[in-house]
Subunit: 264 residues, 2 copies
Amino acid sequence: MIDETIRPRLGIIGGLGPLASADFYFKLTRMTEALRDNEHVPAVILSVPQLPDRTEAILANHDGPLAPLKAAVSTLNELGVDCIAMPCNTAHHWFDRLAASSRAEIIHIGDAVVTEIRRRLGRGRVANLATRGTLVSGFYQDRIKAGGFEPCLPPGAEFQERVDSAIGLVKAGSIAKAAAETERALDLAQMAGADAALLGCTELSVVAASLSDSAGLFVVDSNAALARACLARLGFGSREARGLPTLPRLRGNGRLSWRAAQRA
Amino acid sequence: MIDETIRPRLGIIGGLGPLASADFYFKLTRMTEALRDNEHVPAVILSVPQLPDRTEAILANHDGPLAPLKAAVSTLNELGVDCIAMPCNTAHHWFDRLAASSRAEIIHIGDAVVTEIRRRLGRGRVANLATRGTLVSGFYQDRIKAGGFEPCLPPGAEFQERVDSAIGLVKAGSIAKAAAETERALDLAQMAGADAALLGCTELSVVAASLSDSAGLFVVDSNAALARACLARLGFGSREARGLPTLPRLRGNGRLSWRAAQRA
Protein backbone atom coordinates (compact mmCIF):
# COMPACT_ATOMS: atom_id res chain seq x y z
CA MET A 1 0.00 0.00 0.00
CA ILE A 2 2.96 2.33 0.32
CA ASP A 3 5.29 3.55 -2.39
CA GLU A 4 8.70 1.92 -1.94
CA THR A 5 10.44 5.31 -2.28
CA ILE A 6 8.93 6.43 1.03
CA ARG A 7 8.63 3.12 2.90
CA PRO A 8 9.43 3.52 6.60
CA ARG A 9 11.80 1.00 8.19
CA LEU A 10 10.94 1.77 11.82
CA GLY A 11 7.37 1.99 13.08
CA ILE A 12 6.79 3.84 16.33
CA ILE A 13 3.64 3.66 18.43
CA GLY A 14 3.66 7.13 19.92
CA GLY A 15 1.53 9.48 21.94
CA LEU A 16 1.80 7.44 25.14
CA GLY A 17 2.43 10.21 26.04
CA PRO A 18 3.13 12.66 23.24
CA LEU A 19 6.06 14.40 24.93
CA ALA A 20 7.70 11.04 25.63
CA SER A 21 7.37 10.19 21.92
CA ALA A 22 8.82 13.52 20.83
CA ASP A 23 11.70 12.84 23.21
CA PHE A 24 12.20 9.39 21.67
CA TYR A 25 12.19 10.79 18.12
CA PHE A 26 14.65 13.48 19.18
CA LYS A 27 16.97 10.93 20.81
CA LEU A 28 16.72 8.49 17.90
CA THR A 29 17.78 11.33 15.59
CA ARG A 30 20.51 12.71 17.86
CA MET A 31 21.98 9.24 18.42
CA THR A 32 22.12 8.30 14.72
CA GLU A 33 25.57 8.54 13.19
CA ALA A 34 24.57 10.80 10.32
CA LEU A 35 25.72 14.00 8.70
CA ARG A 36 22.92 14.31 6.14
CA ASP A 37 19.16 13.77 6.08
CA ASN A 38 19.34 10.63 3.97
CA GLU A 39 21.61 8.88 6.46
CA HIS A 40 18.76 8.83 8.98
CA VAL A 41 16.16 6.11 9.62
CA PRO A 42 13.02 6.31 7.48
CA ALA A 43 10.31 6.01 10.11
CA VAL A 44 6.65 6.45 10.89
CA ILE A 45 5.27 7.59 14.21
CA LEU A 46 1.63 6.78 14.80
CA SER A 47 0.78 9.01 17.74
CA VAL A 48 -2.30 7.68 19.53
CA PRO A 49 -2.78 9.76 22.68
CA GLN A 50 -6.48 8.89 22.56
CA LEU A 51 -5.80 5.36 23.92
CA PRO A 52 -7.23 4.35 27.31
CA ASP A 53 -4.83 4.90 30.21
CA ARG A 54 -2.48 1.93 30.46
CA THR A 55 -1.89 1.98 34.21
CA GLU A 56 -5.60 2.32 34.97
CA ALA A 57 -6.27 -0.73 32.78
CA ILE A 58 -3.60 -2.87 34.42
CA LEU A 59 -4.69 -1.92 37.95
CA ALA A 60 -8.33 -2.60 37.07
CA ASN A 61 -7.29 -5.83 35.36
CA HIS A 62 -8.82 -5.06 31.99
CA ASP A 63 -7.38 -5.02 28.47
CA GLY A 64 -8.92 -1.80 27.12
CA PRO A 65 -5.70 -0.59 25.46
CA LEU A 66 -5.02 -3.92 23.73
CA ALA A 67 -7.41 -3.59 20.77
CA PRO A 68 -6.21 -0.11 19.71
CA LEU A 69 -2.58 -1.14 20.28
CA LYS A 70 -3.20 -4.15 18.02
CA ALA A 71 -4.76 -1.83 15.44
CA ALA A 72 -1.67 0.40 15.59
CA VAL A 73 0.60 -2.62 15.13
CA SER A 74 -1.52 -3.71 12.18
CA THR A 75 -1.35 -0.27 10.52
CA LEU A 76 2.42 -0.08 10.96
CA ASN A 77 2.76 -3.53 9.42
CA GLU A 78 0.64 -2.41 6.46
CA LEU A 79 3.03 0.52 6.02
CA GLY A 80 5.82 -2.00 5.53
CA VAL A 81 8.01 -1.36 8.57
CA ASP A 82 10.85 -3.76 9.43
CA CYS A 83 10.44 -3.37 13.18
CA ILE A 84 8.33 -1.55 15.74
CA ALA A 85 9.16 0.39 18.89
CA MET A 86 6.79 1.50 21.64
CA PRO A 87 8.30 4.37 23.62
CA CYS A 88 5.90 3.62 26.49
CA ASN A 89 7.03 1.15 29.12
CA THR A 90 3.58 0.48 30.55
CA ALA A 91 2.19 -0.58 27.16
CA HIS A 92 4.68 -3.46 27.22
CA HIS A 93 2.25 -5.21 29.57
CA TRP A 94 0.59 -6.37 26.34
CA PHE A 95 3.87 -7.07 24.51
CA ASP A 96 3.44 -10.82 24.02
CA ARG A 97 -0.01 -10.51 22.47
CA LEU A 98 1.11 -7.61 20.24
CA ALA A 99 4.24 -9.45 19.11
CA ALA A 100 2.13 -12.50 18.28
CA SER A 101 -0.06 -10.33 16.03
CA SER A 102 2.81 -8.63 14.18
CA ARG A 103 4.85 -9.60 11.13
CA ALA A 104 7.43 -6.93 12.02
CA GLU A 105 9.54 -7.58 15.10
CA ILE A 106 8.56 -5.47 18.10
CA ILE A 107 11.65 -4.42 20.04
CA HIS A 108 11.02 -4.85 23.78
CA ILE A 109 12.01 -1.77 25.77
CA GLY A 110 12.92 -3.96 28.76
CA ASP A 111 15.46 -5.92 26.74
CA ALA A 112 16.90 -2.64 25.44
CA VAL A 113 17.19 -1.32 29.00
CA VAL A 114 18.98 -4.39 30.34
CA THR A 115 21.44 -4.20 27.42
CA GLU A 116 22.01 -0.54 28.28
CA ILE A 117 22.62 -1.28 31.99
CA ARG A 118 25.13 -3.98 31.06
CA ARG A 119 27.13 -1.47 29.02
CA ARG A 120 28.01 0.24 32.30
CA LEU A 121 27.41 -2.14 35.17
CA GLY A 122 28.33 -5.80 35.72
CA ARG A 123 26.10 -6.35 38.73
CA GLY A 124 24.30 -4.35 41.36
CA ARG A 125 20.96 -3.08 42.60
CA VAL A 126 18.59 -1.35 40.21
CA ALA A 127 15.73 0.89 41.35
CA ASN A 128 12.92 1.35 38.83
CA LEU A 129 11.11 4.67 38.50
CA ALA A 130 8.03 3.40 36.70
CA THR A 131 4.25 3.60 36.68
CA ARG A 132 2.29 1.42 39.09
CA GLY A 133 1.02 -0.36 35.97
CA THR A 134 4.52 -1.31 34.86
CA LEU A 135 5.37 -2.51 38.36
CA VAL A 136 2.22 -4.65 38.65
CA SER A 137 2.89 -6.06 35.18
CA GLY A 138 6.26 -7.29 36.43
CA PHE A 139 8.19 -7.55 33.18
CA TYR A 140 11.02 -5.37 34.48
CA GLN A 141 11.58 -7.31 37.67
CA ASP A 142 11.93 -10.49 35.58
CA ARG A 143 14.37 -8.94 33.13
CA ILE A 144 16.46 -7.18 35.77
CA LYS A 145 16.91 -10.48 37.62
CA ALA A 146 17.57 -12.43 34.42
CA GLY A 147 20.24 -9.86 33.54
CA GLY A 148 22.07 -10.62 36.80
CA PHE A 149 20.92 -7.54 38.69
CA GLU A 150 18.88 -7.17 41.84
CA PRO A 151 15.73 -5.04 41.93
CA CYS A 152 15.83 -2.36 44.63
CA LEU A 153 12.58 -0.95 46.00
CA PRO A 154 12.97 2.00 48.38
CA PRO A 155 10.86 1.46 51.55
CA GLY A 156 7.83 3.60 52.36
CA ALA A 157 5.24 5.26 50.19
CA GLU A 158 7.14 8.42 49.25
CA PHE A 159 9.28 6.94 46.47
CA GLN A 160 6.34 5.85 44.33
CA GLU A 161 4.38 9.00 45.17
CA ARG A 162 7.27 11.12 43.84
CA VAL A 163 7.47 8.98 40.71
CA ASP A 164 3.71 9.21 40.09
CA SER A 165 3.84 12.96 40.67
CA ALA A 166 6.74 13.41 38.23
CA ILE A 167 4.96 11.40 35.52
CA GLY A 168 1.74 13.38 35.95
CA LEU A 169 3.67 16.64 35.84
CA VAL A 170 5.32 15.72 32.52
CA LYS A 171 1.93 14.80 31.06
CA ALA A 172 0.64 18.21 32.23
CA GLY A 173 3.66 19.93 30.66
CA SER A 174 5.40 21.00 33.89
CA ILE A 175 8.87 19.71 33.12
CA ALA A 176 10.92 21.61 35.68
CA LYS A 177 8.70 20.52 38.57
CA ALA A 178 8.82 16.98 37.24
CA ALA A 179 12.62 17.10 37.29
CA ALA A 180 12.58 18.14 40.95
CA GLU A 181 10.23 15.28 41.86
CA THR A 182 12.43 12.85 39.93
CA GLU A 183 15.53 14.07 41.76
CA ARG A 184 13.80 13.40 45.11
CA ALA A 185 12.94 9.87 43.97
CA LEU A 186 16.57 9.37 42.95
CA ASP A 187 17.67 10.51 46.42
CA LEU A 188 15.39 7.89 47.99
CA ALA A 189 16.72 5.21 45.63
CA GLN A 190 20.29 6.09 46.53
CA MET A 191 19.47 5.99 50.25
CA ALA A 192 17.94 2.54 49.73
CA GLY A 193 21.26 1.29 48.33
CA ALA A 194 20.62 1.36 44.59
CA ASP A 195 23.61 1.37 42.23
CA ALA A 196 21.55 2.28 39.19
CA ALA A 197 18.21 3.99 38.70
CA LEU A 198 16.08 3.14 35.72
CA LEU A 199 13.84 5.86 34.32
CA GLY A 200 11.40 3.06 33.52
CA CYS A 201 8.66 5.37 32.30
CA THR A 202 9.34 7.34 29.13
CA GLU A 203 7.69 10.44 30.60
CA LEU A 204 10.72 10.53 32.91
CA SER A 205 13.03 10.23 29.90
CA VAL A 206 11.77 13.70 29.00
CA VAL A 207 13.42 15.13 32.12
CA ALA A 208 16.58 13.00 31.95
CA ALA A 209 18.79 15.74 30.51
CA SER A 210 17.31 18.32 32.88
CA LEU A 211 18.27 16.48 36.08
CA SER A 212 20.77 18.54 38.00
CA ASP A 213 21.30 15.89 40.66
CA SER A 214 21.26 12.15 40.09
CA ALA A 215 22.41 11.34 43.66
CA GLY A 216 25.55 9.66 42.34
CA LEU A 217 23.50 6.93 40.68
CA PHE A 218 23.98 5.54 37.19
CA VAL A 219 20.74 6.71 35.59
CA VAL A 220 19.36 4.65 32.71
CA ASP A 221 17.02 6.39 30.28
CA SER A 222 14.58 3.86 28.79
CA ASN A 223 13.91 6.04 25.71
CA ALA A 224 17.63 6.35 24.92
CA ALA A 225 18.05 2.62 25.46
CA LEU A 226 15.18 1.86 23.09
CA ALA A 227 16.56 4.28 20.48
CA ARG A 228 19.96 2.58 20.61
CA ALA A 229 18.34 -0.85 20.28
CA CYS A 230 16.35 0.30 17.23
CA LEU A 231 19.46 1.69 15.53
CA ALA A 232 21.38 -1.54 16.21
CA ARG A 233 18.51 -3.67 14.92
CA LEU A 234 18.31 -1.65 11.69
CA GLY A 235 22.07 -1.60 11.12
CA PHE A 236 22.58 2.12 11.80
CA GLY A 237 25.58 3.35 13.76
CA SER A 238 24.78 5.01 17.07
CA ARG A 239 26.66 7.49 19.19
CA GLU A 240 26.19 8.68 22.76
CA ALA A 241 23.10 10.76 23.31
CA ARG A 242 25.16 13.93 23.73
CA GLY A 243 23.68 17.38 23.49
CA LEU A 244 20.14 16.39 24.31
CA PRO A 245 17.61 19.11 24.93
CA THR A 246 17.24 20.43 28.43
CA LEU A 247 14.21 22.30 29.60
CA PRO A 248 14.50 25.49 31.64
CA ARG A 249 14.19 25.22 35.42
CA LEU A 250 11.51 27.18 37.16
CA ARG A 251 12.64 29.48 39.93
CA GLY A 252 11.96 28.23 43.48
CA ASN A 253 9.01 26.06 44.38
CA GLY A 254 10.85 22.99 43.17
CA ARG A 255 9.07 20.53 45.41
CA LEU A 256 5.53 21.47 44.43
CA SER A 257 3.60 18.26 43.92
CA TRP A 258 1.53 17.53 40.86
CA ARG A 259 -1.73 17.81 42.82
CA ALA A 260 -0.62 21.12 44.27
CA ALA A 261 0.29 22.28 40.76
CA GLN A 262 -3.20 21.34 39.60
CA ARG A 263 -4.74 23.42 42.37
CA ALA A 264 -2.42 26.39 41.75
CA MET B 1 -7.83 1.19 6.03
CA ILE B 2 -7.31 2.43 9.57
CA ASP B 3 -9.29 1.57 12.67
CA GLU B 4 -11.33 4.60 13.75
CA THR B 5 -10.11 4.24 17.35
CA ILE B 6 -6.60 5.16 16.29
CA ARG B 7 -7.27 7.47 13.32
CA PRO B 8 -4.82 10.40 13.21
CA ARG B 9 -6.24 13.89 12.67
CA LEU B 10 -2.97 15.57 11.70
CA GLY B 11 -0.60 14.11 9.11
CA ILE B 12 2.99 15.32 9.17
CA ILE B 13 5.51 14.87 6.37
CA GLY B 14 8.68 14.64 8.42
CA GLY B 15 12.35 13.85 8.09
CA LEU B 16 13.14 16.97 6.05
CA GLY B 17 15.24 16.98 8.13
CA PRO B 18 14.62 14.61 11.01
CA LEU B 19 15.71 16.97 13.79
CA ALA B 20 13.45 19.70 12.41
CA SER B 21 10.53 17.24 12.53
CA ALA B 22 11.32 16.18 16.09
CA ASP B 23 11.40 19.88 16.98
CA PHE B 24 8.00 20.38 15.32
CA TYR B 25 6.47 17.41 17.19
CA PHE B 26 7.94 18.73 20.43
CA LYS B 27 6.55 22.23 19.83
CA LEU B 28 3.14 20.93 18.72
CA THR B 29 2.94 18.98 21.98
CA ARG B 30 4.29 21.76 24.21
CA MET B 31 1.94 24.32 22.66
CA THR B 32 -1.21 22.19 23.05
CA GLU B 33 -3.43 23.20 25.93
CA ALA B 34 -3.57 19.78 27.55
CA LEU B 35 -3.08 18.22 30.95
CA ARG B 36 -3.55 14.58 29.90
CA ASP B 37 -2.50 12.39 27.00
CA ASN B 38 -5.96 12.18 25.50
CA GLU B 39 -6.25 15.96 25.22
CA HIS B 40 -3.47 15.94 22.59
CA VAL B 41 -3.75 15.74 18.79
CA PRO B 42 -3.86 12.22 17.33
CA ALA B 43 -1.22 12.44 14.63
CA VAL B 44 0.98 10.52 12.26
CA ILE B 45 4.48 11.55 11.26
CA LEU B 46 5.79 9.99 8.09
CA SER B 47 9.50 10.66 8.31
CA VAL B 48 11.06 10.45 4.85
CA PRO B 49 14.70 11.57 5.16
CA GLN B 50 15.50 9.49 2.07
CA LEU B 51 13.95 12.12 -0.23
CA PRO B 52 16.16 13.94 -2.77
CA ASP B 53 17.55 17.24 -1.49
CA ARG B 54 14.96 19.96 -2.02
CA THR B 55 17.29 22.90 -2.52
CA GLU B 56 19.44 20.99 -4.99
CA ALA B 57 16.32 20.16 -7.00
CA ILE B 58 15.06 23.74 -7.09
CA LEU B 59 18.47 25.15 -8.05
CA ALA B 60 18.85 22.50 -10.77
CA ASN B 61 15.28 23.16 -11.88
CA HIS B 62 14.06 19.58 -11.53
CA ASP B 63 11.14 18.04 -9.62
CA GLY B 64 12.83 14.99 -8.10
CA PRO B 65 11.23 15.41 -4.68
CA LEU B 66 7.71 15.85 -6.06
CA ALA B 67 6.83 12.20 -6.72
CA PRO B 68 7.83 10.94 -3.25
CA LEU B 69 6.17 13.98 -1.64
CA LYS B 70 2.98 13.13 -3.54
CA ALA B 71 3.30 9.53 -2.36
CA ALA B 72 3.59 10.77 1.24
CA VAL B 73 0.52 12.96 0.82
CA SER B 74 -1.35 9.99 -0.63
CA THR B 75 -0.38 7.71 2.28
CA LEU B 76 -1.41 10.31 4.86
CA ASN B 77 -4.76 10.70 3.09
CA GLU B 78 -5.25 6.93 3.17
CA LEU B 79 -4.62 7.07 6.92
CA GLY B 80 -7.62 9.38 7.20
CA VAL B 81 -6.01 12.62 8.37
CA ASP B 82 -8.02 15.86 8.42
CA CYS B 83 -5.07 18.05 7.46
CA ILE B 84 -1.38 17.84 6.64
CA ALA B 85 1.66 19.83 7.75
CA MET B 86 5.14 19.85 6.21
CA PRO B 87 7.69 21.13 8.72
CA CYS B 88 10.08 21.87 5.84
CA ASN B 89 9.89 25.28 4.24
CA THR B 90 11.78 24.34 1.07
CA ALA B 91 9.35 21.52 0.26
CA HIS B 92 6.62 24.15 -0.05
CA HIS B 93 8.06 24.90 -3.50
CA TRP B 94 5.78 22.04 -4.62
CA PHE B 95 2.83 23.09 -2.42
CA ASP B 96 0.32 23.84 -5.19
CA ARG B 97 0.79 20.49 -6.90
CA LEU B 98 0.67 18.63 -3.58
CA ALA B 99 -2.45 20.48 -2.44
CA ALA B 100 -4.13 19.68 -5.76
CA SER B 101 -3.47 15.98 -5.18
CA SER B 102 -4.75 15.87 -1.59
CA ARG B 103 -8.21 15.40 -0.11
CA ALA B 104 -6.92 16.66 3.25
CA GLU B 105 -6.06 20.34 3.45
CA ILE B 106 -2.32 21.04 3.49
CA ILE B 107 -1.54 23.93 5.81
CA HIS B 108 0.98 26.28 4.15
CA ILE B 109 3.87 27.14 6.46
CA GLY B 110 4.18 30.56 4.79
CA ASP B 111 0.60 31.48 5.67
CA ALA B 112 1.22 30.29 9.23
CA VAL B 113 4.35 32.45 9.46
CA VAL B 114 2.65 35.61 8.21
CA THR B 115 -0.16 35.06 10.74
CA GLU B 116 2.50 34.69 13.44
CA ILE B 117 4.31 37.89 12.41
CA ARG B 118 1.02 39.80 12.46
CA ARG B 119 0.45 38.75 16.08
CA ARG B 120 3.40 40.95 17.02
CA LEU B 121 4.09 43.42 14.25
CA GLY B 122 1.81 45.69 12.20
CA ARG B 123 4.37 46.58 9.55
CA GLY B 124 8.12 46.54 9.05
CA ARG B 125 11.03 44.83 7.34
CA VAL B 126 11.39 41.06 7.54
CA ALA B 127 14.67 39.24 6.88
CA ASN B 128 14.34 35.59 5.93
CA LEU B 129 16.89 33.02 7.08
CA ALA B 130 16.06 30.30 4.56
CA THR B 131 17.64 27.87 2.12
CA ARG B 132 18.65 29.10 -1.31
CA GLY B 133 15.93 26.79 -2.62
CA THR B 134 13.22 28.55 -0.61
CA LEU B 135 14.51 31.95 -1.75
CA VAL B 136 14.56 30.95 -5.42
CA SER B 137 11.08 29.47 -5.07
CA GLY B 138 9.88 32.89 -3.96
CA PHE B 139 6.75 31.95 -2.01
CA TYR B 140 7.91 33.84 1.10
CA GLN B 141 8.65 37.10 -0.69
CA ASP B 142 5.10 37.02 -2.11
CA ARG B 143 3.49 36.27 1.23
CA ILE B 144 5.56 38.79 3.19
CA LYS B 145 4.57 41.54 0.75
CA ALA B 146 0.92 40.45 0.65
CA GLY B 147 0.93 40.58 4.48
CA GLY B 148 1.93 44.25 4.36
CA PHE B 149 5.60 43.73 5.23
CA GLU B 150 8.76 44.49 3.31
CA PRO B 151 11.36 41.80 2.62
CA CYS B 152 14.84 42.77 3.86
CA LEU B 153 17.89 41.17 2.31
CA PRO B 154 21.20 41.97 4.00
CA PRO B 155 23.80 43.02 1.39
CA GLY B 156 26.87 40.94 0.61
CA ALA B 157 27.44 37.20 0.55
CA GLU B 158 28.06 36.58 4.25
CA PHE B 159 24.41 36.56 5.39
CA GLN B 160 23.41 33.63 3.17
CA GLU B 161 26.70 31.85 3.82
CA ARG B 162 26.04 31.95 7.58
CA VAL B 163 22.49 30.71 7.03
CA ASP B 164 23.66 27.84 4.79
CA SER B 165 26.36 26.95 7.31
CA ALA B 166 23.86 26.92 10.21
CA ILE B 167 21.45 24.67 8.30
CA GLY B 168 24.24 22.23 7.37
CA LEU B 169 25.46 22.17 10.97
CA VAL B 170 22.00 21.25 12.28
CA LYS B 171 21.73 18.46 9.71
CA ALA B 172 25.15 17.24 10.90
CA GLY B 173 24.00 17.41 14.54
CA SER B 174 26.20 20.34 15.63
CA ILE B 175 23.54 22.45 17.29
CA ALA B 176 25.69 24.81 19.33
CA LYS B 177 27.82 25.81 16.35
CA ALA B 178 24.63 26.26 14.33
CA ALA B 179 23.29 28.64 16.98
CA ALA B 180 26.45 30.75 16.74
CA GLU B 181 26.16 30.94 12.96
CA THR B 182 22.48 31.87 13.26
CA GLU B 183 23.31 34.63 15.73
CA ARG B 184 25.80 36.10 13.26
CA ALA B 185 23.16 36.05 10.52
CA LEU B 186 20.74 37.80 12.89
CA ASP B 187 23.39 40.47 13.55
CA LEU B 188 23.69 41.07 9.81
CA ALA B 189 19.91 41.24 9.45
CA GLN B 190 19.69 43.79 12.24
CA MET B 191 22.47 45.88 10.69
CA ALA B 192 20.53 45.81 7.41
CA GLY B 193 17.55 47.38 9.14
CA ALA B 194 15.30 44.37 9.69
CA ASP B 195 12.54 44.63 12.31
CA ALA B 196 11.84 40.89 12.32
CA ALA B 197 13.87 37.85 11.36
CA LEU B 198 12.14 34.77 10.09
CA LEU B 199 13.74 31.41 10.81
CA GLY B 200 12.39 30.35 7.42
CA CYS B 201 14.07 26.96 7.46
CA THR B 202 12.88 24.48 10.08
CA GLU B 203 16.46 23.33 10.73
CA LEU B 204 16.92 26.79 12.26
CA SER B 205 13.80 26.27 14.39
CA VAL B 206 15.84 23.59 16.16
CA VAL B 207 18.23 26.25 17.48
CA ALA B 208 15.56 28.90 18.18
CA ALA B 209 15.45 28.31 21.94
CA SER B 210 19.26 28.09 22.12
CA LEU B 211 19.91 31.56 20.68
CA SER B 212 21.53 33.72 23.33
CA ASP B 213 21.44 36.84 21.18
CA SER B 214 18.74 37.77 18.71
CA ALA B 215 20.20 41.26 18.05
CA GLY B 216 17.02 42.92 19.33
CA LEU B 217 15.00 41.47 16.48
CA PHE B 218 11.60 39.87 16.73
CA VAL B 219 12.49 36.29 15.75
CA VAL B 220 9.76 34.19 14.12
CA ASP B 221 10.12 30.42 14.35
CA SER B 222 8.46 28.78 11.32
CA ASN B 223 7.99 25.45 13.15
CA ALA B 224 6.22 27.12 16.07
CA ALA B 225 4.08 29.13 13.65
CA LEU B 226 3.10 25.95 11.79
CA ALA B 227 2.31 24.15 15.04
CA ARG B 228 0.03 26.98 16.14
CA ALA B 229 -1.72 26.98 12.75
CA CYS B 230 -2.31 23.21 12.98
CA LEU B 231 -3.78 23.48 16.48
CA ALA B 232 -6.07 26.32 15.38
CA ARG B 233 -7.18 24.41 12.27
CA LEU B 234 -8.03 21.32 14.36
CA GLY B 235 -9.82 23.27 17.10
CA PHE B 236 -7.23 22.71 19.83
CA GLY B 237 -6.29 25.50 22.21
CA SER B 238 -2.69 26.68 21.98
CA ARG B 239 -0.43 28.41 24.41
CA GLU B 240 2.91 30.15 24.02
CA ALA B 241 5.78 27.80 23.22
CA ARG B 242 7.28 28.26 26.69
CA GLY B 243 9.82 25.91 28.14
CA LEU B 244 11.13 24.63 24.82
CA PRO B 245 14.23 22.50 24.82
CA THR B 246 17.56 24.21 24.62
CA LEU B 247 20.72 22.45 23.58
CA PRO B 248 23.97 22.89 25.47
CA ARG B 249 26.50 25.37 24.08
CA LEU B 250 29.97 24.17 23.22
CA ARG B 251 32.84 26.02 24.84
CA GLY B 252 34.72 28.40 22.54
CA ASN B 253 35.04 27.89 18.83
CA GLY B 254 31.61 29.35 18.32
CA ARG B 255 32.30 30.67 14.83
CA LEU B 256 33.55 27.42 13.31
CA SER B 257 31.91 27.06 9.92
CA TRP B 258 30.15 23.92 8.78
CA ARG B 259 32.88 23.11 6.26
CA ALA B 260 35.54 23.62 8.92
CA ALA B 261 33.57 21.33 11.21
CA GLN B 262 33.50 18.70 8.48
CA ARG B 263 37.25 18.88 8.15
CA ALA B 264 37.87 18.82 11.91
